[in-house]
């Protein structure tokens, strides 16, 4: 009897682990951009499969709602995107075509980063003569470490809401991430001292939040208006700004055409540098930490 009871307990234990396994079913996360795939990775550890819809070499505004993305979204439990209309050309179409009821609203498995931080440059009035500007402000929020910390907390809440069984794991991961992130932020801030007031030209407002964090100043844009490609006449006015305002650097991302930046470098004595912009934007930028470090290092070595 005694042995039998022991066996019974063992088999019960085995059974319970087998039964418990489905409760640990992995979350399926669809990230619109690599930075949100990387943030999710920090928070979920092994508890999820993560897919990034775009790479660092793709302009996230110009993505096609292609078949492979529809099938990825069909399977998603959580969709994490920048929001603020950055994905307006393709995300709503993917949602409609995915037939997935779990990712249709922010009440459920949809998370817009822009909903959880203060966006810069929210225009008072918007019309298209100003270019492709959006009424919800600049969506490239991931380049400010302080905003990333806020987003990590908000995303952890979302993960806990969707997968309450693993809530403790997410909270632990968050605590761990925030400790490391805050240490790194302090270091970046001290490195940023040398960059305070640095005047730069950039392609688009892609680095708005990075410059804000580093205390740098974007005095010109290679684009005549948001979304419009550089023109010769506009570049002449940028050239004028470089000459008059002691601009030190021109920066662009991996998904932007480098011709205009190269032209400006040739015409003047300032350097042009391609920054990672997001995770995967160069070989070293393999996660959010190295991405931030890369930005600061590349800027410092180019001036």
């Amino acid at each position: 009897m005694h042995i039998n009871f022991k066996r019974f307990l063992i088999s019960l234990a085995v059974l319970s682990t087998v039964v418990a396994l489905p409760a640990k079913a992995e979350l399926n996360i669809f990230a619109c951009e690599p930075e949100y795939a990387a943030l999710a990775q920090e928070l979920v550890g092994d508890e999820a499969t993560i897919y990034s819809a775009t790479t660092a070499y793709q302009d996230p505004h110009f993505i096609q709602a292609r078949p492979s993305l529809i099938s990825k979204m069909r399977r998603a439990d959580l969709v994490v995107c920048a929001g603020a209309d950055l994905e307006i050309g393709w995300l709503p179409m993917l949602q409609a075509k995915s037939n997935n009821r779990d990712v249709q609203s922010v009440d459920k498995g949809l998370f817009y980063a822009s909903d959880h931080v203060v966006n810069l440059d929210i225009p008072v009035t918007v019309d298209r003569s100003m270019g492709d500007v959006h009424s919800l402000g600049n969506p490239h929020v991931h380049l400010d470490p302080e905003r990333i910390a806020q987003l990590a907390k908000a995303l952890t809440n979302k993960l806990s809401q969707l997968d309450s069984d693993n809530s403790e794991i997410y909270q632990n991961n968050l605590a761990d991430f925030l400790t490391r992130w805050q240490q790194a932020t302090v270091e970046w801030q001290s490195q940023a001292q040398a960059l305070k007031g640095l005047k730069v030209i950039a392609y688009h407002s892609s680095f708005r939040y990075l410059f804000e964090f580093l205390g740098m100043q974007q005095v010109g844009d290679l684009e005549p208006k948001p979304g419009l490609p550089p023109t010769t006449s506009h570049l002449m006015t940028v050239l004028d700004i470089v000459e008059k305002q002691q601009v030190k650097l021109v920066v662009y991302t991996g998904y932007q055409d480098k011709k205009a930046a190269s032209w400006l470098q040739e015409k003047t004595n300032i350097n042009s540098v391609q920054l990672p912009y997001t995770v995967g934007g160069n070989e070293q930028a393999s996660d959010l930490f190295s991405m931030m470090t890369q930005h600061i290092n590349l800027i410092k070595s180019a001036i």
Partner: protein, 409 residues
């Protein structure tokens, strides 16, 4: 026009007052205007085609200017309304092109659409014409689908639980708009389609589709739009030609019409970054079967006998099949400039044509100042009827106001 003015005012007020939240009403207007230099439309071989079969109108036109409103209705439904303005012989007509609701919260990867919508058969038909890379639809679409086929009905779509995109869908439709003209108020058109697609790699993506579309057409329920007079004149003119072929009216056929459509699309962009350069190759093949009766007027000029009527009406029993296709290639080489080529051909069975195969070759170049404006110059070499080559030049302005359009694959 009054209706539109009122709508515009209502929209303007709601738009200016509304805070632009993410769950806002999406309002967009497409202004599509242009100028075309061409000969009068004189049919596609002897096949009966309706208004949109004619393609672009001669001179200045403001065709297919549209107003669309869409929004989530609640957590269960979304809705869309599209009103199109078309011009017919100086009159501006308002067409309701879309008015549907679609579920957003069905389980098992299902969705249901109810109302008036563009049928999802083929590649182009489910897309709005203003997102096309050419000013007009390919010949095979204009001839067999009246440019685009929309109707009242219901669609059920299901995504298979596979890693690869695999969608199955079926539609039951009223059969109330061209090229359908079904009898009564029941189901007069039905479709089934399967679509799949994926990425070869980061730079290359593809989509394949196979569709069936069937109509129970009834001559008595058909009311053709415009062009009827032109057809009559055309009939006479062609009849006088020695080996000229008879041209049928769009309503002359009664019976079942079955379409089998295969579509394939390949898109390429360096690094998958569509902003600067990209290339699209698309093709669709149509196999069309007609089984029924063809209304046929026969003139008895040879007899010279004093009979009561010169034209005698017949109903000929026919069982014929046609095939047609188009291939188009469009290359965007800078964010501002794109160019494209297209070829479309139809091989009709008797009695619409003997050996003659109507064909149209197209070349276009377009300038996009921004994401929202396109100016396009297009040349068509149109050989829709035997022995005539019509060189058509079009300048088109296609502009989007309001809500950001979708980058549909």
């Amino acid at each position: 026009m009054k209706l539109i003015n009122t709508t515009a005012v209502v929209l303007a007020t709601s738009f200016s007052g509304a805070a632009l939240a993410q769950d806002q009403l999406n309002i967009s207007a497409i202004i599509n205007v242009g100028f075309t230099e061409r000969d009068d439309f004189s049919g596609v071989a002897g096949y009966g085609v309706d208004e949109h079969g004619a393609g672009l109108k001669q001179g200045f036109w403001t065709d297919h200017t549209e107003l669309a409103i869409s929004a989530p209705i609640d957590d269960m439904f979304m809705g869309k309304l599209t009103i199109v303005l078309d011009e017919h012989e100086g009159e501006t007509e308002v067409e309701l092109e879309e008015a549907f609701i679609q579920t957003t919260a069905l389980p098992y990867d299902l969705s249901l659409r109810f109302g008036r919508f563009l049928s999802n058969v083929g590649y182009l038909n489910g897309k709005h014409a203003h997102t096309d890379s050419f000013a007009d639809r390919p010949l095979v679409y204009r001839t067999f689908l009246n440019g685009h086929y929309y109707d009242d009905g219901v669609r059920l779509s299901w995504l298979a639980p596979t890693d690869m995109y695999l969608e199955f869908g079926t539609e039951l439709l009223k059969g109330g708009s061209m090229p359908a003209y079904a009898e009564g108020d029941g189901i007069g058109a039905y479709s089934a389609f399967v679509k799949t697609g994926g990425d070869f790699n980061i730079e290359n993506s593809w989509q394949l589709g196979a569709s069936y579309l069937g109509f129970d057409n009834d001559e008595g329920s058909c009311s053709s739009h415009a062009h009827e007079d032109e057809h009559e004149e055309h009939d006479d003119a062609e009849m006088e030609e020695e080996h000229g072929h008879e041209a049928f009216g769009v309503c002359d056929f009664s019976g079942s019409k079955d379409y089998y459509i295969i579509d394939a699309v390949w898109k390429w962009a360096p690094n998958g970054n569509y902003k600067y350069q990209n290339f699209t190759l698309a093709t669709e093949y149509f196999f069309v079967e007609e089984d029924g009766e063809l209304h046929h007027e026969e003139e008895h000029e040879e007899h010279e006998e004093p009979i009561t009527s010169l034209a005698e009406e017949h109903l000929d029993s026919i069982d014929v099949s046609h095939q047609g296709f188009y291939v188009s290639a469009v290359y965007q080489f800078t964010p501002n400039w794109a160019a494209g080529l297209r070829y479309s051909q139809i091989d009709f069975d008797e009695p619409y044509s003997d050996d003659f195969k109507p064909e149209v070759s197209t070349a276009m170049v377009e300038y996009r100042h921004s994401h929202f404006s396109t100016v396009r110059l297009q040349y068509n070499q149109d050989k829709s009827v035997e022995d005539i080559t019509d060189d058509q030049i079009t300048l088109q302005f296609n502009m989007a106001l309001g809500a950001h359009g979708a980058h549909q694959f």
